[in-house]
């Protein structure tokens, strides 16, 4: 279910239209910025990647961070891959897929060259075992519960029998948490397997630690001809933004993932690889708290926020004022049927005046990264103007996630995103988390999701998404503060980086000039 990287509460900024066009144009002609060197891919070498969050390991059901998805997915490749456009799927280990029996059967054909890093072919039996493994996971298992059974057609073809029509399922087969593993973990105990897994991705695991290095080495049996370009990927954990800037400048690092907009603002524009606006920063309101139980209070807060200031100061131009509660720029996204919250101090005060209970003081939890800290102070000021004193409670990202997921907060800053090219992806997350830990399950979500899954018609899917958006606007369990881009800083010698809107990318196609 989690479609986000839940520990991340720092939203990313968005991209101006012109910059989007420029990035797409560069990507289309080989991906990357011209640096005077060859644009023909160069094989070999080591790619040094800084990550700003810890690496959680390869155990699929325990993964929750973008930093983990990237490297885990490069070892344990899923059946399908997301196109960087964020709107479509590409073949992965499965070279084709099709629905049958009224969208109740999904048949997948495996790429004939697909093989694990130990040289053994990927078979339907491996996929069946992998699906059973995903379903057994306490965190992501429910997403695949719609798969009632699997049927092996032949060694390279498998049919998934669904308990009800679900046209969204292929998207969920592209999640990094849906990596394909060998049947019975290749005869190894599960714990031992997750420590040093064997997968069918472009890289194999040489070494890893949560807060240290992750070292990946080329999988010589990889099925996509000529890939990966780089022999080795070394990822180092670097939490300090200034250190990231220095390591890029000195050439110690080639890429830095998920950098904050405040750092991006200090680097040359040509070093910033940004996505379309997607990552959605939100102000969660704990509806179980009596002070926030009245929807008028929550709506008043929604209209009290100065969204332009939030976006301008904390996203540094890499973001936009939200047009809905759901992350944008994925397939079938649609806005609410009426305008989303905007800054309207008079309306906010009128709503608060009509509330059954007006909170005088609230506490707001937030992760103490540079972007969210700014956001917190602006929201604090906006609510002060509304007559509500907000006490700030900073914590590191992990601490903030624990506070939020435990429901031990009144207000909290958070961020969420999809991890596949489908607007229903974050909606599933909202449903699975009691509407994102606010204690206010939005009734319309389940019904809308059902409508969404049953149809293949894009307009009908968008209509379902609009219903969800409307319900989130009406019931306001949370307020979207800004929708921003994922930012990767790269040296100009690096090519082939094309991010999805949520910041995923294909490590196999990245190369750098010698």
């Amino acid at each position: 279910m989690p479609l986000l990287d839940p520990l991340r509460s720092a939203p990313r900024g968005a991209l101006a239209a012109g910059a989007v066009a420029a990035v797409l144009a560069l990507s289309a002609c080989g991906g990357g910025q011209a640096d005077g060197g060859s644009l023909q891919p160069v094989r070999g070498g080591t790619l040094n990647v800084l990550r700003t969050y810890p690496f959680e390991g390869f155990e699929l059901d325990k993964e929750s961070l973008n930093a983990t998805y990237l490297f885990s997915g490069a070892v344990l490749e899923p059946l399908l891959r997301a196109d960087p456009d964020g709107r479509s799927l590409r073949p992965g280990l499965a070279s084709s897929w099709s629905f049958g029996h009224g969208n109740r059967t999904l048949t997948l054909k495996l790429d004939p060259k697909a093989a694990f890093s130990d040289g053994k072919p990927v078979t339907a039996a491996d996929v069946a075992f992998s699906i059973a493994t995903w379903k057994a996971g306490p965190n992501y298992g429910a997403t695949y519960s719609v798969i009632r059974s699997t049927k092996t057609i032949d060694d390279r073809t498998i049919a998934l029998e669904l308990s009800e029509p679900d046209t969204s399922l292929p998207s969920f087969l592209a999640w990094a948490t849906a990596g394909v593993v060998p049947k019975d973990f290749g005869g190894r105990p599960a714990k031992q397997f997750w420590q040093k897994p064997v997968g069918a991705g472009p890289y194999t695991v040489s070494d890893w630690s949560t807060n240290g290095k992750v070292v990946l080495t080329r999988n010589t049996h990889y099925y996509r001809a000529g890939l990966p370009y780089t022999d080795q990927v070394v990822s180092t954990y670097a939490g300090d933004q200034n250190s990231i800037g220095l390591q890029l400048a000195s050439g110690q690092a080639d890429l830095a993932n998920e950098i904050f907009p405040v750092l991006a603002a200090t680097l040359p524009k040509k070093q910033i690889n940004s996505t379309l606006n997607h990552m959605t920063s939100v102000l969660l309101m704990n509806t179980k708290d009596p002070a926030l139980a009245d929807v008028k209070v929550r709506q008043a807060i929604g209209y009290a926020i100065d969204y332009a200031s939030v976006v301008g100061s904390s996203l540094k131009g890499y973001g936009a004022v939200p047009t809905g509660a759901l992350p944008t720029n994925v397939a079938n996204w649609a806005p609410p049927s009426r305008p989303y919250f905007s800054h309207d101090a008079a309306k906010a005060k009128a709503l608060l005046a009509g509330a059954s209970r007006r909170p005088a003081t609230l506490t707001m939890a937030y992760p103490n990264d540079p972007s969210t800290s700014l956001m917190a102070q602006i929201v604090q000021q906006n609510l002060k103007d509304l007559g509500i004193t907000v006490n700030l409670q900073a914590a590191d990202a992990a601490g903030n996630y624990a506070t939020v997921s435990g429901g031990k907060y009144q207000l909290a800053l958070f961020a969420y995103n999809a991890i596949s090219p489908d607007a229903s992806d974050p909606v599933v997350y909202l449903g699975a988390t009691g509407t994102m830990f606010t204690g206010h399950p939005v009734g319309a979500i389940d019904a809308a999701l059902g409508d969404y899954r049953r149809t293949t018609d894009a307009k009908a899917k968008q209509a379902a998404i609009t219903k969800v958006q409307d319900a989130l606007l009406e019931e306001a369990p949370f307020v979207a503060l800004g929708q921003g881009a994922q930012l990767v800083a790269q040296r100009t010698a690096v090519h082939g980086l094309r991010q999805t809107p949520w910041g995923g990318y294909d490590l196999a196609t990245i190369w750098k000039n010698k």
């Binding site: 933004q241 200034n242 800037g245 904050f260 405040v262 750092l263 603002a265 200090t266 100065d306 200031s309 301008g312 100061s313 103490n368 540079p370 800290s373 700014l374 917190a376 102070q377 602006i378 604090q380 000021q381 700030l392 409670q393 900073a394 590191d396």
Partner: protein
């Protein structure tokens, strides 16, 4: 045995330049240090008292449109990332930082003094317990122990003061205990005991006043530690929370702009350094003067 003065002059060498004797030079140096230290600290106290009147802007007032502006007539030291006036925030932080730093020094001093006095005067099991606990606390690196305490108690000034007190009393207790042990056998104490005065009266009226000199000197140098430690804790997110103006948290918030707007980091750092320098001179000056009497 002392050598004749003439022997100190090398044969054929020039006689030493005329000037005051070393002790006199130290006393004069002490006076200068004391004067500079008092002036610096006095200025900070003045700023702290007058900040509400003197500061040009509300230190909390945001003006996002004017964020990260350079120094100007309207904003003499520029604005921060939310368009707040840096000068006003620095001035407003002075009162909080000074107060917290002084409390973070005085509270452990009070606790340490009481425990050291009791341990030194009573001796026996009480002395053993106090000293073993202090041994235990000193075995841990100070910062690590304080961070652990603040982590458990939660960020904020109250937690910081508890942590400073819980860790900082040890030195004061040892200082006082040593002095008490030295004084306890003095004739005037023996006379007081013989005269039938109560233990409390002897400790408070006769022992304590004679032990405070070293403590006072140490206290002034301890303020330097408190000022910098408070800034460090706020920098790490354990101290004063945003948006309250505080030098350490201002430095922490500004580190994201270190390359873009270094002034935001340098200015609070400079303010902390000058105050620490002032207290250090004050302590040195006091030591020079009191140590010669």
């Amino acid at each position: 045995m002392t050598a004749p003065v003439e022997a100190a002059v090398p044969a054929g060498g020039a006689p030493p330049p005329p000037g005051p004797a070393p002790a006199v030079r130290v006393r004069r140096g002490g006076r200068v240090k004391l004067a500079i230290g008092l002036t610096v600290v006095g200025l900070y106290v003045l700023v702290a008292l007058l900040a509400p009147v003197l500061r040009p802007h509300d230190p909390l007032a945001q003006n996002v449109a004017a964020a990260l502006q350079g120094p100007s007539g309207a904003y003499p030291l520029g604005t921060d990332e939310l368009g707040r006036d840096v000068l006003s925030r620095l001035m407003s932080a002075t009162g909080l930082d000074l107060t917290v730093a002084l409390l973070a020094t005085v509270l452990p001093c009070l606790l340490g003094t009481v425990l050291g006095l009791l341990a030194g005067y009573a001796g026996g099991w009480l002395d053993a317990v106090v000293m073993r606990v202090s041994d235990l606390l000193q075995a841990f690196p100070t910062y690590i122990l304080m961070i652990a305490l603040v982590f458990v108690l939660g960020p904020g000034v109250r937690s910081l003061l508890i942590a400073f007190t819980a860790v900082g009393w040890v030195v004061y207790a040892r200082l006082i205990r040593g002095e008490v042990a030295r004084i306890r056998g003095s004739e005037y104490i023996v006379a007081a005991v013989t005269a039938g005065l109560g233990a409390t009266r002897i400790m408070v009226r006769h022992v304590l006043p004679n032990t405070l000199k070293q403590t006072l000197v140490y206290l002034t140098s301890d303020v330097v530690f408190a000022v910098t430690a408070l800034a460090a804790f706020s920098f790490l997110g354990f101290g004063v929370q945003q948006p309250t103006p505080e030098w350490g948290s201002m430095t922490a918030a500004a580190q994201a702009y270190l390359t873009e707007v270094p002034r935001l980091t340098v200015l609070p750092g400079l303010v902390i350094s000058v105050l620490a320098f002032g207290f250090a001179l004050l302590g040195d000056g006091l030591q020079d003067r009191m140590g010669r009497r």
